[in-house]
Point group: C2
């Protein structure tokens, strides 16, 4: 590790040797419980059972316990010129299972989140179609063929600051631009069939009703395959910051294409090459050229606990957990190492494995209090294996912001404090 050369941010990264670590086993040791005398605890008075609690009229729309007030999206004030064109991050280290609660889904806006009256909102379909159409929200909710699907959404820039080794101190910041939600809506294919796409209609332009007028081009094959228009998330209406009243769902593809506050769909014969798909959301390579059309989010995983915001508190049994996702098929396997890659262990994947949806994994560990270097590595149904950051940098250089799916390393120190490091 060097702090001497500030000109090259790569040199500021904390590098660690993986050799010589033997910090823990993945089999459980003594179980975590206290052989105290329950009878003594049973008769203890508790402040919360000495008086009536809150009645049912208290919270028509419920909120988290006051003891969970630290579980929030967090933004970074210095990151962007304005907070209307910025991002906040999902607290992954505080979550579990596969569903991201609506109140904690990260936000990324280009002109802030507009409050739209659904009664006035319209969705237009025009361009290379037989019959241009305008839909009210009520029209869409009456449309036959409604479906619900769980999909991950990852911002292309998730982990972007790690390209050059920013080593942000927590998975909320390094990986918190991903969420996993059940969407309610209809296949976009059904709407386009009503409009009638002309034979030369090869691309779709989606436009948002926000101040930025976000526009993205999507090839018609993807649109007809599995794109949805959605008005619901996790059972209820979309949240304002997720596109209320209507958003485009582009399963497995970068989040910027999932146009929020969706108002217009135009069919054309070529890509529009808008600002947000040329000067932005492309990867500048070392030779000065940019990669074109990098829509799919490749397989990725992250250990969320332990992590810098969720250090280990004691030796012995501890639950290591994390999440994995892929924009191609489904997650087949997640391997975890706690000794910097010397030994890899197949993690236990819990719950349903659905295509293009996040999976949860666990490894029960028995920590002896020595240092650990923790990594996870996802493999998907195409056989693709999540690469290291250095493997990505060899091919794409260090100019990139987007599409960093490299393996993340956490160092757990002897006192349980956990840091973002890289292994040389």
């Amino acid at each position: 590790m060097s702090d001497t050369d500030n000109a090259n941010p790569l040199d500021r990264r904390k590098f660690l040797k993986a050799a010589g670590l033997a910090g823990a086993g993945v089999a459980a040791g003594a179980l975590p419980a206290h052989a105290a005398e329950p009878e003594k605890v049973i008769v203890e008075k508790q402040e919360w059972n000495q008086a009536l609690g809150a009645g049912v009229q208290n919270a028509p729309y419920g909120k988290p316990s006051p003891f969970e007030k630290h579980v929030v999206r967090r933004d970074v004030e210095w990151l962007t010129a304005s907070r209307e064109s910025s991002v906040n991050f999902t607290p992954l280290h505080e979550l579990d299972g596969i569903i991201t609660p609506n109140g904690l889904c990260f936000e990324r806006h280009h002109g802030g989140a507009p409050v739209i009256d659904p009664a006035k909102h319209r969705l237009m379909i025009h361009g290379l179609v037989d019959k241009p159409l305008v839909f009210t929200m009520n029209d869409l909710k009456r449309f036959p063929g409604r479906i619900n699907r769980a999909y991950f959404l990852e911002c292309a820039a998730n982990s972007g600051m790690e390209w050059r080794g920013a080593q942000l101190n927590g998975c909320q910041y390094t990986h918190g631009m991903v969420h996993n939600v059940w969407y309610t809506g209809i296949p976009l294919k059904a709407l386009l069939e009503q409009a009638g796409v002309k034979t030369n209609g090869k691309w779709l332009l989606a436009e948002g009703a926000d101040a930025s007028g976000m526009t993205r081009s999507i090839p018609i094959e993807k649109v007809l395959d599995d794109c949805m228009i959605a008005w619901g998330m996790n059972g209820e209406a979309l949240r304002t910051e997720q596109g209320y009243p209507l958003r485009l769902v582009v399963p497995g593809w970068e989040g910027n294409m999932w146009v929020k506050w969706l108002r217009r769909l135009e069919i054309g014969d070529q890509a529009w090459e808008q600002r947000e798909e040329t000067s932005k959301y492309t990867d500048l390579l070392a030779n000065g050229k940019a990669r074109r059309y990098t829509w799919v989010m490749d397989a990725k995983s992250i250990v969320t606990n332990p992590s810098p915001q969720a250090p280990l508190k004691q030796k012995g049994p501890n639950v290591l957990t994390g999440m994995a996702w892929t924009g191609r098929g489904s997650i087949k396997r997640v391997d975890v190492t706690i000794d910097g890659g010397k030994n890899w262990h197949a993690a236990r994947i819990d719950g349903p494995v659905m295509p293009l949806s996040l999976v949860r994994f666990y490894v029960d560990i028995d920590w002896n209090g020595e240092e650990m270097l923790i990594q996870s590595r996802a493999m998907d149904s195409t056989g693709y294996v999540q690469p290291t950051k250095d493997e990505l940098r060899k091919i794409r250089g260090v100019n990139s912001i987007y599409h960093n799916n490299g393996i993340q390393t956490w160092l757990v120190k002897k006192n349980g404090v956990t840091e973002n490091v890289e292994i040389s």
Copy 2:
């Protein structure tokens, strides 16, 4: 229908003859869209894209759009002596998919919802065990074998007022004491294995830390089969009103057994026969005897749209939707009628069908503006078919409050207004 005999509430029910209805088809007709000219709409100024929206620091924990403020749990002030021992109801008619958002999960308390400091909370296991144990929340979160499971929870009294034909005007009130949530926790079996259940340990008593000290007895076979202790719901911590920081999960069984604010588990050799499993949560039959041990929630379904709170707004295509669940196995089929039972149509079940978890169903209808009598009927993997209310009354009389899984009927009138009725 008779309004003359107020002594017998059954006579106040609105009865309808099912004959002669031919209100709609279940095939889609003209699709709901407007062949307006999109180009005129496209250039319209919209108030919400003329200025920046909210920035990302606006809501660390997000809330629904202000246009959704009507989507709330609702309680009924006159229902119980106090609102600390009362209930509020999930707005089923506003929800979709299979997940109930945490802020909208119905509440039922017996001494109000206490705010508990998780650092001070303890779970005790004692009684007929080899080694009594006390767990902190931290101990539980370190325990090996963490899982996530989606389960419905239905209050035994859900639809209870319909036994005598209260005909409450909306599925939120008739069926809103059910929700479906992903729970994070550990199998209770794993904790009991650590404590060591003695061979004469046949029952478990679960006690809550609230002011009511809720206690229920559960046979050990069920406990060891699939009961969980859970600290998470839908990805985040339990909500206060759902038992924060810890609740018992008793899949498929009546909600009252899912003890909230769980503090004590005692193993015994017989049932405790506590107040809430004898004088309450039992069904009084016509002969004055009460049914014993009616824990399992039988197969049930409800059409949530259309319904009294969600009337039809226009003829033509409309989406009929609802939900079904069973405490035995999984839902195999849901049939829907729109003509009071003359014709039944297999509904389309959307999304994953998981055991002891809610399923979502749809029927796309084409409404001609005539009256409809809508019902749904669930069948589960045991072959059990949801009964009519009258079939239940023939066996159990009209004294019951609990375990009403009878078929619900909605009358859609010519103006789209929808009412709670019964078919004679």
